[in-house]
Amino acid sequence: MQQKYIGKAISRVDGPAKVTGTAKYAAEYNVPDLHYGYVVNSTIANGEIEKINLTKAAMVDGVVKIYTHENRPSTAWLSLNYADMDAPPGKPFVPMHNNKVVYNGQPIAMVVAKSFEVARYAASLITVEYKADKSDTDLVANLQNARDPKKGLASFLKPPPPKPKGNAAKAYEAAPLKAGGSFYHGVEHHNPMEPFATTVVYEDKDKLKIYDKTQGSVNTQMYVANVFGLKFKDVRVLSPFVGGAFGSGLRPQYQLFLSVMAALDMQCNVRLTLNRHQMFTFGHRPATLQNTFYGADADGKLQSIQHESVAETSTYEDYTEIVVNWANMIYPSPNVNLQYKLAPLNMASPMDMRAPGGATGMHPVEITIDELAHQAGMDPVEFRLLNYTDEDETTGKPYSSKELKECFKQAAEKFGWAKRNPQPRSMRRGHKLVGWGMATGIWEAMQVPTRAEAILTADGKLTVRSATADFGTGTYTVMAQIAADAMGMSLDNVTFELGDSDMPFAPISGGSFTAASCGTAVQAACLGLKKKLLKKAQSTNAEYKSVNLDDIAFVDGQLQPTNSAVKPIAYTDLAAASKNKQIASKNMGWPQMMKQRKYTRAAHSAIFAEVEVDEDFGVVKVTRLVSAIAAGKILNPKTARSQILGGMVWGISKALREESVMDHRIGRFMNTNLGEYHTPVNADIHQLDVIFVEEDDQIVNDLGIKGIGEIGLVGVPPAIANAIFHATGKRVRNLPIKLNDLM
């Protein structure tokens, strides 16, 4: 296949819609006779609702109905019906199911009114009487409750840690070089810029069109159909534009349930939007406490890896992540002990948030390695090269490709690492201490079965579609590129459509697996289309009877047989001669399991960071970051670079800014707004350099795609923490790193 567009820095095809304001998000479909919902949230974390006083709210002019657990229509009985594609083992939360309160901020009532303002005002008049029980929300104070996670369907994609190897404790004791410590990070919330919203269009009895903020239109469709007992074909979910998600859209949020419930009950169109405070009342990155104990021999070779983690989960689901598996995937060691436990708390279930588990687990790994390198008196890059492997020791499988060495080399060169004075506190700029640190990142390259359809019309246009999502990830653009190259057509004539449950099946979009999964599906659909084009050519043109698919080049919108005696035929002629003046093919893109299973497949990165630390005030400025990424084929360096830049900004945020702070006395987050939940602003972000290292991988999939959504973040926080150590001599293990840690 000729690659005219794949690998080219093409501007986002959805760019014009986004810069002109015509791209419509879930809360922006102003359908007629729209009713507006507004949610009331619980103010206790554990207990029962004794009474909800609705009298005053009901008296407000314009209020149509108020729902609570006492009057809401019944929905599916079985817990299984509430399980979405990303549901962890346990019983999913069901809004307003009964009078029990299981977390602070839980939705307990919803006002539906004829205007947004009336609904909001009426909701403010509702008062609630509770019987509050003791609530436990502090992970560190509840470690005694830590236990093994329950297993379930999710364990396939998130396997538990491998069994211990050798005797890690003994080897640690005997090791001349030892490092490690205790690492804690608190809760983080995704906070996409677009709040969660659903607009439900009531089309007919039991027939809905739903505009939802989701990372998977089919996931929403399945959930609504199962919960409300509707037929799949009567539930159409649309999400052509999603204003950021970062994992928060992998599960249906409660505004979906409540708005659909009201629309079906009231038989009208309903919109429910969450406010920013309510964006802190569902899933989040779980607070996690980790301990590492690493030992190395006198030469710096790792002899023992011990990494244990306790993460928070809710009382009703066992949300898990891969936190402790990473160390032995990238660093060989004869003795390994990895432990992962959960402590249930009176909080909402955590959920996947950008690089779930990876960003969490690699932080201690890369800081502990930095400590060992420092003790060994070795350069951190050299130390990593000494402990380098081309085999994943947790499975005993080789990597399908791993250009990490090249990442180290190119990033170090760009950064000017050779000029580093290894001594902490040795570099200064005026009254600011300067530190240079580095770290490694890894994220598994996954692929899941996905379907796509390719439709060629007589006007020479190709439309390819799949029910996948683009929440800033570039899916619209890269899929169009893949399709244009697959069919040998101009990109101008190719459109990729997504975000509609009526389109061919796609699972939720996350885990960095969409480009590989949907890209494979697009290729499969285009191959199917080529076969149909040939078949049509054979039926209309005798010359083609003996021509095989392999003997034709599909270029410039034509079938061009290698045998020059056979005349080329334009796609448009074949489409024009077909029923409805179009030829279409719908196909499944399957992972090449037989090839893949013999290898561990992962993207890697090397991150180099420069920080300035104000010696008096402890203020940290990340002046430079260089990130070199080896992630197989980069489909579009322009959109891919943006993904990595975004990951780097998230890394700075995770290292120095963001944390949802809990008042454990009442089990409620205190900083539930964008002024107090700190994320970087423009002035916080300085020089960011991205390098894509060439990596050819024939095993992951035909196109060699590994995925880049997560890898940009992993490794950035430890690189910054290591740079802060180099600047100040202070080893800060908790996140985020605060001023007072450095004063």
């Binding site: 760019g15 810069v19 830049l645 964008l674 423009n682 002035a683 972000i685």
Partner: protein, 176 residues
């Protein structure tokens, strides 16, 4: 245990006050006079999005903390969530839908060229804010632009590309 009511209301036992009456107001938006019927508590943001179907202006926080709702009023950038529609009669309001004379405004094109967005949700606010900022005339350096654009959050992390886009437009304006 009786918990605190969700909203502290001093007139707790009284009936809710009657709602203020709806008013017909004229807003001049993108060069056109538009008559809408709103209660005084409707923000400019909600009036634009809900009443005028100008959904290009985004609601990210409704608190003046994120900048997604930035529009231009008489050429100055403001957070449309922090002002009421009834306060904006007689003013010239420009939203993302109205910033281009014809085709695309150079700032819009620069945002596309520099890939200065991902999900696109903060983008109309960023673009209106950038145009308003250049109108203010205080941005001389890249650092100034970063500082003066810090009222517009971008969770996707497109900040460096946003500054690149703005600097390109700024330099082109300077050369005119």
């Amino acid at each position: 245990m009786k918990s605190e009511p969700q909203v502290i209301n001093n007139e707790h036992d009284k009936l809710p006050a009657a709602l203020a009456p709806e008013l017909d107001i004229v807003l001049r938006v993108n060069g056109h006079d538009r008559t809408i019927t709103v209660r005084p508590w409707v923000t400019l943001l909600d009036a634009l999005r809900g009443r005028l179907d100008l959904t290009g202006t985004k609601k990210g926080c409704d608190h003046g903390q994120c900048g997604a709702c930035t529009v231009l009023v008489n050429g100055k950038r403001i957070n449309s969530c922090l002002t009421l529609a009834v306060m904006q009669t007689g003013n010239d309001i420009t939203t993302i839908e109205g910033i281009a004379q014809d085709g695309m405004h150079p700032m819009q094109q620069a945002f596309i060229d520099h890939d200065a967005f991902q999900c696109g949700y903060c983008t109309p606010g960023q673009i209106c804010s950038a145009i308003g900022m250049l109108n203010e005339g205080h941005a001389h350096t890249r650092g100034d632009v970063q500082e003066l654009m810090s009222g517009n959050l971008c969770r996707c992390g497109a900040y460096t590309n946003i500054v690149d886009a703005i600097m390109e437009v700024k330099e082109a304006q300077g050369n005119e």
